[in-house]
Symmetry: C2
Subunit: 339 residues, 2 copies
């Protein structure tokens, strides 16, 4: 069933059929009805390849993340897919892993596939040194980053102020008279840098001493977090609270504490399901994917619509601190506090 068949069955030209297909106003209501009816009757669906050829677009958005099996990225993909679909946009997914060469490959692949835009999820797509490979792509198609910041034309960034988030977490602890606050982190991606900066700013703000052994970079595993925490505890280092760049690390630290029967405030990051599953449940900083993702898609839609003026190049939302047992065992109810 093609546009020709529909045209024939209605005794109109293919141009007219194409017009109703594309919602052109230059069709009389009568013929429009007639054509629509025929399409319905024959259950006609336009061939997307032919359409793609003509329009040079198949309304597909490439979504890239380093790893969808990571809870944080998965949530973002889920939210983005949902909003994209609502606007009739398709999602082609790529999981790049952390190798730069693979990231480049995927970027090029999507470009070659003529996707309409690319959404980069997470800050692993911002390289420490050189992002010229992304800039190059951005010259050809719009790029949206979620939770990363790239100051490049045609790249639109939607992110959460993670530095402030972490800083407020430290403030909260400081106000509870915690001074020796451990910070566990695994990566110095843009996001990683922001969080670390937040920790340092918070510590400085409250004149807390920043000692090297209280800032620990470890692999992103439960075991590593548990091990380093245990090691610090055993070495007699004084700890009054633990913070981490990732819930997983905070859970590991919490396990080390629990194993020794020690109760300390622990604050994680991402407010993932892990925070809830931890025992005691974990206080965590939420980076607002639920608002970042819709915002990103809205901006994307504006751009695809040619409405560049309406598209902010940077959109930054505040973090949210979600308190659970690991912060205050004694408080009767959980509560959320906007930072």
């Amino acid at each position: 069933m093609t546009i020709y068949d529909i045209a024939k069955s209605c005794a109109v030209s293919i141009a007219t059929v194409s017009r109703v297909l594309n919602g052109s106003p230059k069709v009389s209501p009568k013929t429009r009805e007639k054509v629509l009816a025929a399409m319905n009757e024959h259950n006609y669906k336009p061939n997307p390849f032919a359409r793609g050829l003509g329009l040079n677009s198949m309304k597909m958005i490439g979504i890239l993340c380093t790893d969808v099996s990571d809870a944080f990225f998965a949530k973002a993909v889920s939210l983005v897919e949902h909003d994209l679909r609502k606007r009739g946009l398709d999602v082609i997914l790529g999981c790049t892993g952390n190798e730069l060469s693979d990231k480049k490959k995927y970027l090029q692949l999507f470009l070659d596939k003529h996707v309409d835009a690319i959404i980069l999820i997470g800050s692993p797509f911002r390289e420490e040194q050189d992002n010229s490979h992304i800039e190059k792509i951005a010259k050809q198609i719009p790029i949206i980053t979620i939770n990363s910041l790239l100051d490049v034309p045609n790249i639109y960034c939607v992110l959460c102020d993670e530095k402030e988030g972490m800083q407020k977490a430290i403030e909260l602890l400081a106000k509870q008279h915690c001074d020796n606050i451990l910070y566990l982190y695994d990566s110095l991606s843009y996001s990683g840098q922001q969080k670390l900066a937040g920790y340092k700013a918070g510590m400085q703000e409250y004149n807390l001493k920043q000692v090297p052994h209280l800032i620990q970079r470890i692999p992103r595993t439960l075991e590593a977090a548990e091990a380093i925490t245990t090691k610090l505890l055993d070495s007699g280092v004084e700890l009054s609270a633990i913070t981490a760049s990732e819930d997983l690390l905070a859970v590991g630290a919490q396990k080390a504490l629990s194993a020794r029967g020690i109760i300390l405030p622990v604050i994680g990051f991402n407010n993932s399901i892990l925070a809830e599953c931890s025992t005691p449940s974990l206080t965590s900083i939420d980076n607002r994917l639920d608002v970042l993702c819709p915002a990103a898609v809205t901006i994307l839609a504006q751009i695809l619509n040619g409405d560049f003026a309406a598209a902010p190049s940077k959109t930054i939302f505040p973090s949210l601190l979600v308190e659970r047992e690991s912060f205050s065992h004694n408080k009767p109810n959980k509560k959320e506090a906007a930072l």
Copy 2:
């Protein structure tokens, strides 16, 4: 840069260029080299839409899951994407949610988009009553299901024997002289039925009494699992072990136990990151996504290759029980045991 440009720059016809593009043997090595060189020099990439029009395929596979933000589905998507990409196949992702009408919509959408095949992830795509909507699609394009079973022509199922998995878990508990084994579950999807059947079979095998209040259907939330477990404990019901259809539920149950200082064997399902993060860490049944997914993609590749004879309509792998603290606090090391 089109095929015409390349043809011109090599002084050959577009047909020849197309032939080298498609690896046809009817090209002399000399001209092939020449054309390849030109393509390289001009950094030529064939237009996928034009190609799609001609071949009626863009080598895209539709992947459907109800929710990628679920750890289990996310892992499957991740594994499948990886293997698909290795074979030069693209992934278009859809998250349908649990509404049947939405599932149908996505299925039709993918069909209309002329994807080459559809991979259904998880048993939520098998409806209890009527799966004619899937059968209809399967008449047009091949469908692969991961961890679900649909006995329909042109549908290829790759799954894990979850019934046996759960049964062996019960056996293990029975051998440790547990008799009052609670089973928590949330859904009666195909997978849900299998697990429940495994529980029942295991209980029967060891002549353990199956009482209604030891089989509890609850919402898929931590809170629900914790609440029902607490309620049972408080009501004086005797419990000697807890099993669940999902790690999340097992974690909830474990929390209830921990809160009362009770130590019981707890066994979850899916062997997700939650199992590791729980305290004590959770023994769990692994449904082998790491082998199901590659197997599914291999079968898919055979089908797309026209090699239907090589494609088994059902492929079933055994489960794996992964022991952690929740089963045996006293054992010094974790270990894996094939069921």
